[in-house]
Amino acid sequence: MTEALIYGLAGAALAGCGTYGLLTATHALGRILGFNILGGGVFLIFGAIARRGAGAGFGGDPVPQGLIITGIVVAFCATALAVALLLRLRTALAVEAQAGHEEETQP
C-alpha cells in the first residue's frame, strides 16, 4: 500500500500547488487552471483512500472510485461554464473598447 501513501501525499501537494495558482494568477484562465489542479489534488487523495480500501478481490474500493468519476465530469462542467463566461466577457470588452475608440476619433 506504499503507492496509496505516495500518491496521497502527492495529492496534498497538488492541492497546495492549485491554491497557489488560484491566489497568484494574473489572468482569469490561470485561476481556472489553478482551481482544476486543486480539484485534481483532492480527487487524488480520495483515490488513495479508495486504494487503501482494497478488498474482496477488487484493487480498490469501487464506491469512492465511482464518485471520483462523477467528480471529474462535474469539474469539467464547471470549467467549461467558466471558460464560456470568460469568452463572453472578452467579446463584451472588445465590443466596448471598439465603441470607445470610435467615440474618441469622432470630433
Partner: protein
C-alpha cells in the same frame, strides 16, 4: 522498482502542476495542464482505478484541453485587452493605486499566497498520514451485491445501481452546464450553429488524422460501452471517447457544427437523463423503490439506460465544447 516508478511519477506530476501555475502566459500553461492530465491518468492506473484513468484522460485532459486552448487563443487574438482581474483588483478599495509600490506589493502577495498554499498542503498531508488502519471499505458490500445486478465491473455497478442517484444528478449538472453555456449566446433563440472550433481551413494533417483515427476511435468508444458491464469502461468513458472523435472530425473540417435548434439534437441530449429518470420512477412500480431495476431484467434495462446516457453524454460534451450559438442579436 515500482516504488522508484511511483516516486518519479509523483514528482513529475508535481513539477508539471507547478509549471502550470507559475507559467505566466496562457497557452504554455494550458499545454502543461494537458500533460498534467495525462500523468494523472497514469497515476490512476497505479492506484488500480482503470475506469477513473480513462475518464481523466478523455475528459480531464483531452476535452478540457480543447476548451482551454480555445480560451487561450481568444486571449492572443485580443492582446489590447487589459488583464482584467489585476486591474479590477488595483481599483478595489483598500488597495494602493496602480504604479505606487506595485512591485513590493506583488512580492509580499506572492509570499503570503505561498505560505497559505504550503499550509493547505501540509494540513492535507497530515490528514493522509493520519488515515485510520485498517482502512474502512465498502468493497465487501459491493462485491456481495454485485451478482444481483448482473454486472461484472464494480465501478459500473456503483455508478448505475448502488449510487444511481449521484449519476442521475450528475447528468442534470451536465445538462445545466449546457444551458448555462447556451445562455451566453447573443442570439436570443439559441437556434443557430455555434462558431467553428478553429476558424479557417483545416490543415491537411488534421483532416488526414481525423479520417484515419475517427473510425477506430468510434469503434473503441462503442466497445468501451459494451465491455463496461464486466471490464473497465462504461457510459462516461465511452461518451467522452465518442465526443472526442466528433470533435476531431470537426477540427479536420469533415463535419460541420450542427444548428442548435434541431429537434433531433435536443431529443438526444434530453434522452439520457430523462430515460434514467423514467426508469427511476418505474422502479417504484416494478421493485418498490426509486431507481430500482425490475428484478430479472436488471442487466438489459441497465444496458438500455447506459446506451441512452452515452449518446446524451457524447452529444452534450460536444455541444458544451462548441459553445453558444454564434447568431447575432436581433431587434
Amino acid at each position: 522498482m515500482t516504488l522508484l516508478f511511483d516516486v518519479v511519477l509523483a514528482l513529475l506530476l508535481l513539477l508539471t502542476a507547478f509549471g502550470v501555475v507559475t507559467t505566466g502566459t496562457e497557452r504554455p500553461a494550458v499545454l502543461a495542464f494537458m500533460g498534467y492530465g495525462l500523468l494523472l491518468g497514469l497515476v490512476w492506473v497505479r492506484l488500480a482505478a482503470p475506469d477513473v484513468a480513462m475518464t481523466e484522460i478523455a475528459i480531464g485532459s483531452g476535452i478540457s484541453g480543447i476548451v482551454l486552448l480555445r480560451a487561450a487563443r481568444s486571449a492572443r487574438s485580443s492582446p489590447h485587452l487589459p488583464a482584467t482581474p489585476r486591474t479590477m483588483m488595483a481599483h478595489a478599495p483598500g488597495m494602493k493605486a496602480p504604479g505606487e509600490k506595485a512591485p513590493d506589493k506583488g512580492v509580499s502577495d506572492r509570499k503570503m499566497a505561498a505560505l497559505v498554499s504550503v499550509g493547505v498542503a501540509v494540513l492535507l498531508g497530515g490528514v493522509v498520514l493520519a488515515l485510520p488502519t485498517p482502512a474502512p471499505s465498502l468493497a465487501p458490500q459491493a462485491a456481495e451485491a454485485l451478482p444481483s445486478t448482473g454486472l461484472g465491473n464494480p465501478v459500473t455497478g456503483v455508478l448505475l445501481v448502488f449510487r444511481g442517484l449521484d449519476t442521475l444528478l450528475e447528468k442534470m449538472v451536465l445538462l445545466l452546464a449546457l444551458i448555462g453555456v447556451w445562455a451566453l449566446a447573443r442570439d436570443p433563440l439559441w437556434r443557430g450553429a455555434p462558431a467553428p472550433l478553429f476558424p479557417g481551413i483545416a490543415p491537411a494533417p488534421s483532416a488526414f488524422l481525423a479520417r484515419v483515427l475517427a473510425p477506430i476511435g468510434v469503434l473503441v468508444g462503442i466497445y468501451l460501452l459494451w465491455a463496461g458491464a464486466d471490464d473497465p469502461g462504461g457510459a462516461f468513458q465511452s461518451g467522452a471517447t465518442l465526443a472526442a472523435m466528433v470533435l476531431l472530425l470537426m477540427m479536420g473540417g469533415l463535419v460541420r457544427a450542427p444548428a442548435l435548434g434541431s429537434r433531433a439534437l435536443r431529443l438526444v441530449v434530453l434522452g439520457g437523463p430523462f430515460a434514467f429518470l423514467a426508469v427511476g420512477f418505474l422502479g417504484w412500480a416494478s421493485a418498490g423503490t426509486f431507481l430500482a431495476y425490475p428484478p430479472g431484467f436488471e442487466k438489459a434495462v441497465i444496458k438500455a439506460v447506459e446506451i441512452a446516457i452515452t449518446a446524451s453524454i457524447a452529444l452534450t460534451l460536444v455541444l458544451v465544447v462548441l459553445g453558444p450559438s454564434a447568431g447575432e442579436e436581433r431587434p
